[in-house]
């Protein structure tokens, strides 16, 4: 890699330049790595330290308390419920976004006049701030002044009075609608790009051999787009696990604690209840668990790169 190898130079000069190359390459990464360590390593160490103390709103007790907070994690029903809510939303939203995105991508795969414009418009929801998306859906879902109940009323033939953000029967449907609306275009865009890269001669040959559309999709297209699909699922899956903004704007975790996600629960513990040490224990658990998953998943992604 070092270009000095190609330059005819006396060995002393070469050694000097190799030294300066080495200094150069570390000099270039140093500031960036330093700043990343600030968010990568510092929080890990600091949360660990705080989590074995006993800092709450009432007392600043920084003596060593062992693993009492970690023990409390296992008995914290609200935490496990928050994990459950997060996994529930992920388990429904992720396949829904994938399936809808895939269907949309197939619709746009063949030539279609104005396709570029359609795609540019369809991607907008994904780029909007999630908290703005949540706020928008809150306005749409309003039981009296929002258009969703109005539209449902046209089909029902009578006024529909659903209070979407409070009614336990509908609150998850509301969150999922907003979430799927915002992120289906993400899946759509990636899958459309992947499908467009599938070797056309393969699909054409299969057609001439009399294979039907479904067979072509399952046997030729799906294997070809699988690597992209896996990455899209990974990115979205990790996004969903840390879901905060949309739910915060839409329900604030309510009614009660019914839609609290892991991120919302952590926020409430840390910044509403001021259970500093306990929150640190939650944060540490989340960082460690997810780091393992993330790095394992990224290794796979790096291989496919």
């Amino acid at each position: 890699m070092s270009a000095t190898a190609t330059a005819p130079s006396p060995s002393f000069a070469r050694r000097l330049s190799e030294f300066s190359d080495r200094r150069f390459k570390y000099l270039m990464i140093a500031p960036a790595i330093f700043i990343i360590l600030l968010i990568g390593l510092f929080p890990l160490i600091y949360t660990l330290a705080v989590s074995v103390q006993n800092i709450t709103m009432l007392e600043e007790d920084t003596s060593y308390h062992g693993l009492i907070h970690y023990g409390a994690l296992f008995k914290d029903l609200r935490l496990w419920q928050a994990i459950g809510h997060t996994l529930l939303i992920t388990a429904i939203a992720l396949p829904a976004e994938l399936l809808l995105g895939l269907l949309m991508a197939l619709l746009f795969l063949e030539r279609l006049p104005g396709r570029q414009i359609f795609v540019a418009l369809l991607v907008l929801p994904t780029m909007i701030a999630p908290v703005v998306a949540g706020a928008t859906w809150r306005l749409l879902f309003d039981n009296r002044y929002g258009p969703i109940n109005q539209i449902l009323g046209w089909f029902a033939g009578e006024p529909v009075p659903i209070v979407w953000t409070i009614n336990p029967d509908f609150v998850y449907l509301g969150i999922l609608l907003a979430e799927v609306w915002q992120w289906t275009p993400f899946m759509f865009l990636l899958l459309l790009a992947a499908l467009s890269n599938v070797d056309q001669s393969l699909t054409e040959a299969a057609e001439i051999d009399g294979a039907n559309g479904l067979t072509i999709f399952l046997r030729i297209m799906l294997p070809a787009i699988w690597p992209v699909m896996a990455i899209a699922l990974l990115i979205r899956g990790l996004d969903l696990v840390r879901l905060f903004d949309v739910v915060w704007a839409l329900t604030g975790g309510g009614p009660g604690t019914m839609t609290e996600t892991i991120s919302i629960y952590t926020y409430v513990q840390g910044f509403r209840q001021f259970e500093t040490s306990y929150t640190a224990a939650i944060a540490f658990l989340v960082i460690v668990l997810l780091s393992v998953v993330v790095i394992a998943a990224l290794r796979r992604m790096e291989i496919t790169r």
């Binding site: 270039m28 990464i29 908290v131």
Partner: protein, 285 residues
Amino acid sequence: MMTRLPASGSFGLRRRTWRLLARYVGALALTVIFLFPVYWLFMISFKTPEEIFHSPPVWYPAQLQFSNYAVLFKDGDVVTVWNSLFVAGCSTLIAMFLGTLCAYSLARFRTGGEHLAIWIISQRMIPPIAVVFPLFLLYVWLGWVDTYHGLILLYTAFNLPYVIWMMRGYIEDIPIDLEQSALVDGCTRWQVLLKVVFPMVRTGLFATAVFTFVFAWNDFIFALVMTRSNVTTYPVQVTHYFGGQSNFWAKIAAMSVLGTVPIFIAVAALQKYLVRGISLGAVKG
């Protein structure tokens, strides 16, 4: 691709036309459905209070009026948009500069090997809430809560992994020969970077910078935790208008629109790089 089948006679042609028409209707319907919430948001921002709080809802205002925006300017709330612009802009510049240097080292010298690269991008995937809590305690201690430099540093740190990862890909895409011949010609490493590498990856730099800006611009959770009143960004301001029974709908909508229009511009500017940008470089689009 299926349309390339040997279409026989007028029947085949008619079938193809119908098929295209059906797909067109489907595409239009999808676009209407997906853009309806955006349309609704924009329309509320132009409505009068009577129109906003009308049951059943009216779908468009009688006339476009800008008083909802005027209120934001008069009350000074619009300063939050400026805060967003300043904080996102500064952090983008710093992250792009430091990140590209780091990316070059990773791409051309394999500094730290694959392990370092994977560790860097993994930092991007950690849930912000878990990171922001200890950082908040640090910021309280430093007195950096609700300061511009505090938030700028946070966004810089959060976006650096993305910049490094993306720029590494863009740099690996360009041939190394030019850099080598520039070195042989007696350029220093820094000159090579400035005169050869940067010009060749300028489209990648541009696309990455826009994405970096958008991430900082759209962020909610860091700003929610780290700001009080001086440095409030526009997404936090939007949630300030939600208050118990009386939501300030007009303000929510107008502020959201102010924050969303730059996103539209970004999307328009990014067309060719969207796929690569949102897939973390996995799909070169």
